[in-house]
């Protein structure tokens, strides 16, 4: 009888160590410094949609003074090692994130160190509070170690961090991630959206699968957005506020906090490809898109006035330029790759670097300045700006009739799928 508890605890200890070793080795969420083995765990296939769980751990180690906020567009496009950014910049972008969760991320990050520079990218979809956005609901489970839901500092941050790491080793959820990571290694270079290589600074590099047509990639992403949050109302719709949540209130509260913190902030409307801008129009949301831009500007000015500060620069890259109108490879062309875009919403690091050059006034020897890429929004000129964008859209659509037809087909497909 005396040895029974010892035996029990010893067997339990052995089993849990074994499980922990397995999860450490496969390391599906990049929590540990275990080796990357070809065919076993090189590609972290489960990581992309679990970043809201992992990034608080990385950010805590990094204690950044520069910060990139936003969705997957910023995550894959903005390089935290860009020379115009502070040396220790962390890319805290999270896929599918909504503005209220971005506010939570900022609340967490500001408690980590002395932030001097923030680049916050703003995406139209992040302001949709429709409950039909399943992917967004997941990221709303973001929970940092330092800040509570109100942004106040919580005690025992190290304890929570230790708990997270322990669960990374011995949870079934992570064991499931390990098994799926192993299973999905072989086909990832050949199929679908390809693979992602993640860095501990928070950004990633996406490589499309070998056989993937880039045009198809545009279609898939467009249809996902139409499908998830837009079409058809009332089950799927685009709304800025509901009974529980107002996206603009969250945005205003976030800016107010940033003004109080005295941090330098650049607000950036993501550089969407011209085809995706047409997708917004075809979906009947262009009016909302313009209202959104106006509100971003108005709230920024109002919050600056309240704080007695100069408004943060607000840049609009969802515009028409040589870069955002880059030609999409033709049907059946699976070998040509675009320089600036992965799909209509996600841009490459090359375009991201140009964006950072522009907003941070950085002279780059690699890129020349492209006219029309990024406009500073101001109260006195926003009307003219929006009219200009509308005119350029008419021009683009007139010269890209096939793209427009293709888009309309996508809309019909989604509409009929979701109506049934």
């Amino acid at each position: 009888m005396k040895k029974y508890p010892l035996k029990l605890l010893a067997i339990f200890g052995f089993l849990i160590t074994l499980l922990g070793f397995f999860n450490w080795l496969i390391n599906p969420l990049l929590l540990f410094d275990s080796p990357a083995i070809d065919g076993v765990n090189r590609y972290k296939t489960q990581f992309f949609f679990l970043q809201h769980k992992v990034k608080p751990l990385w950010a805590q180690s990094s204690r950044p003074d520069g910060l990139i906020l936003g969705s997957s567009r910023a995550g894959g496009g903005l390089n935290p090692d860009h020379s115009a950014l502070p040396e220790n910049t962390f890319n805290y972008a999270i896929p599918g994130i909504r503005i209220n969760t971005i506010a939570r991320v900022y609340s967490e990050a500001r408690l980590l160190g002395d932030l001097s520079q923030v680049v916050m990218t703003l995406d139209f979809f992040s302001f949709n509070v429709s409950p039909s956005l399943t992917q967004v609901r997941d990221t709303e489970m973001f929970e940092g170690f330092y800040a509570d839901a109100d942004g106040d500092r919580r005690p025992f941050a190290s304890l929570r961090r230790g708990k997270s790491l322990l669960q990374g080793l011995v949870s079934w959820q992570n064991t499931r991630n390990s098994i799926l990571t192993m299973r999905r290694q072989s086909a990832i270079e050949e199929r679908g959206a390809g693979f992602f290589e993640f860095t501990r600074a928070g950004n990633w590099y996406q490589t499309l699968a070998k056989g993937r047509e880039q045009r198809q990639n545009f279609r898939v992403i467009e249809q996902n957005y139409l499908d998830e949050g837009w079409f058809p109302p009332p089950a799927r719709e685009f709304i800025f506020a509901n009974e529980q949540l107002s996206a603009f209130d969250s945005y205003g509260d976030l800016l107010a906090l940033m003004y109080v913190d005295g941090v330098s902030v650049e607000l950036v409307i993501s550089p969407l490809h011209a085809r995706f801008l047409s997708a917004i129009k075809v979906a009947g949301l262009w009016e909302e898109f313009e209202i959104w831009k106006r509100q971003l500007l108005a709230i920024n000015i109002a919050m600056a006035d309240e704080a007695g500060e100069t408004p943060f620069p607000l840049w609009d890259f969802a515009d028409y330029s040589e870069l955002t109108q880059e030609r999409i490879p033709a049907e059946n062309d699976s070998s040509t790759r675009m320089r600036n875009y992965i799909d209509g919403q996600h841009y490459t690091v090359e375009l991201g670097d140009r964006l950072l050059d522009r907003i941070l006034n950085h002279q780059s020897s690699e890129h020349e300045i492209v006219e029309g890429f990024g406009s500073l929004l101001k109260a006195e000129s926003i009307d003219i700006h929006l009219v200009r964008v509308r005119d350029l859209q008419v021009e683009y659509e007139a010269s890209h009739g096939q793209e427009l037809l293709d888009l309309q087909r996508s809309v019909e497909i989604v509409k009929s799928r979701n109506s049934n």
Binding site: Y4, K7, L15, V170
Partner: protein, 499 residues
């Protein structure tokens, strides 16, 4: 702090156990008792440190009244007044924190206007430590309490394994152990049993009960009515909740008893295979046994019990069960659930009275198996609808949807919620059809609750499966612990924690 949390398992429990047994070496009971008290206050304060003060006020007040009630020189009339003040204080505290908004809302409903609610946070465990202390005061008044001292009284009320969700311990079950200084030492036999029962309980909670929530939660969600669930979804969801609450409470009872046993403190049995009941009367002798005992001894009997005629008996039964329902939560659907059980018990008593002289063997078998087990189980399952629903009206809608039997297929929305769980991942290789998987899983769990022995039988050596301190059992329990610890990232709190 939750029993099913990393901080409890890897920090609080080991530190508390090691500290306790080290202090036992000092050969003075006072040090391990102080340690247990401090640990229990930390355990309680983990949720909200401010409410430790409320717990301490309640303890000090009740101890003071207990002392006065036990004072040999106090006249009987004074003692009665003291008891009334003591009970009113306890019920007042419970009433304010748990029922104030319920009464305000109800008054508003009657008056036809809306009164603004108070911002009150319900302190954890208040229903449990209030009842425990009310029982203590009544027993002190009736001179059933022999001796008390402040430290032991504090441990009696706050002992962490039973503080949050019972068992509602009677002082006679704990005091003798706390007084016996010879038992303040490490007892390998108790520790082994306690650890094993704890492991079984943890497995039931983390792996079984929480997985059942996946089937039950969608149909009870506030948005369920707009989703378009089918009759089959509702039926399966209700059965799943019946099993979920069974395993959840069974798990909590096993964990509490197991933890107590590790300290060589025997907590009373609170749960004894209630779905094996042959009647509703039998059910209430097996489900939340210590609450039933409290309600019987301190409510039903003082109301007159069965001593004042048949009509009064059934009235007393209904009042007791309605208040028992209200004890679970300040909502009308709990009151209705209590009323249903009061009605079931009354019908059960009437039925027993009618059939008491029937000697027909066939009839008795039929009555026990069909009328007894099956009907009891159906009645319990249907009553759970009102226990779990957000309102009585929601409960009625779910009941109507089940009775309506409009579709014998799962809806796509329900299948989608299940497919998001880990079950298809775990069993996907064996059973690809998710519908078959659901039926097999629920049927297997029903077999468990109806056929397998419970922990009391296993650990007392009375069941077909008997615990023995050997390598096979150590390996089995270690495996259960592994499954449970690895499932902690998905763990939810115990259902009875909210009461």
């Amino acid at each position: 702090m939750l029993f099913n949390s990393i901080e409890f398992l890897f920090l609080f429990l080991p530190v508390t156990l090691i500290g306790y047994f080290l202090l036992c070496q000092l050969q003075k009971a006072v040090w391990p008792l102080i340690w247990l008290l401090l640990a229990s206050l930390v355990f309680y304060g983990w949720w909200n440190p401010a409410y430790v003060i409320l717990l301490l006020i309640s303890i000090v007040f009740n101890f003071g009244f207990g002392k006065l009630l036990l004072h040999p020189g106090s006249p009987a009339g004074t003692k009665k007044h003291l008891l009334i003040i003591g009970v009113v204080f306890n019920l007042g505290l419970l009433g304010y924190f748990k029922y104030a908004n319920f009464f305000i809302d109800t008054a508003g409903l009657i008056a036809g206007s809306e009164f603004s609610s108070l911002r009150i946070v319900l302190p954890l465990a208040i229903s449990f430590f209030t009842f425990q202390q009310v029982a203590f005061l009544v027993d002190a008044y009736q001179a059933k309490v022999k001796q008390i001292d402040f430290l032991r009284y504090c441990v009696f009320v706050s002992f962490f394994p039973q503080l949050i969700a019972g068992p509602i311990v009677h002082h006679t079950e704990i005091f003798p152990r706390l007084i016996d200084s010879a038992r303040f030492r490490f007892n390998s036999s108790d520790f082994s049993q306690g650890l094993s029962q704890f492991g079984i309980g943890l497995f039931k909670k983390v792996i079984i009960a929480d997985s059942l929530a996946i089937f039950a939660n969608p149909i009870f969600a506030e948005s369920a009515s707009s989703v378009g669930f089918s009759s089959l979804d509702y039926t399966v969801g209700v059965i799943a909740f019946g099993l979920q609450i069974y395993f959840d409470f069974s798990a909590y009872s096993d964990i509490a008893i197991g933890l107590g046993k590790m300290f060589s403190i025997n907590l009373p049995v609170n749960f004894e295979s209630p779905y094996k009941s042959t009647s509703i009367i039998d059910f209430w002798r097996r489900w939340h046994i210590t609450l039933s005992r409290f309600l019987k001894d301190y409510l039903y009997i003082p109301l007159g019990g069965n001593r004042r005629g048949t009509f009064r008996r059934y009235c007393n039964l209904l009042i007791t069960m309605v208040l028992g329902g209200l004890w679970h939560g300040a909502h009308w659907h709990f009151v209705f659930w209590g009323f249903l059980h009061g009605a079931f018990l009354s019908i059960n008593h009437v039925w027993r009275h009618i059939t008491r002289n029937n000697a027909d063997q066939t009839w008795n078998i039929f009555s026990t198996v069909i009328g007894g087990r099956i009907l009891t189980l159906v009645a319990i399952m249907l009553s759970w609808i009102f226990f779990r629903a957000n309102s009585t009206a929601d409960g009625m809608s779910i009941l109507m949807a089940i009775v309506g039997m409009d579709s014998l297929n799962f809806s796509p929305a329900y299948l989608f919620s299940i497919s998001a769980s880990n079950l298809p991942f775990i069993f996907g290789g064996l059973i690809s059809d998710i519908r078959i998987l659901v039926f097999i899983y629920l049927a297997a769990l029903f077999m468990w609750v109806l056929l397998l022995p419970n922990c009391q039988q296993i650990f007392s050596g009375q069941g077909r499966i008997r615990w023995q301190p050997n390598l096979a059992w150590a390996s089995g329990i270690a495996l259960l612990l592994l499954f449970s610890v690895a499932g902690l990232d998905q763990a939810a709190e115990f259902i009875y924690f909210q009461f």
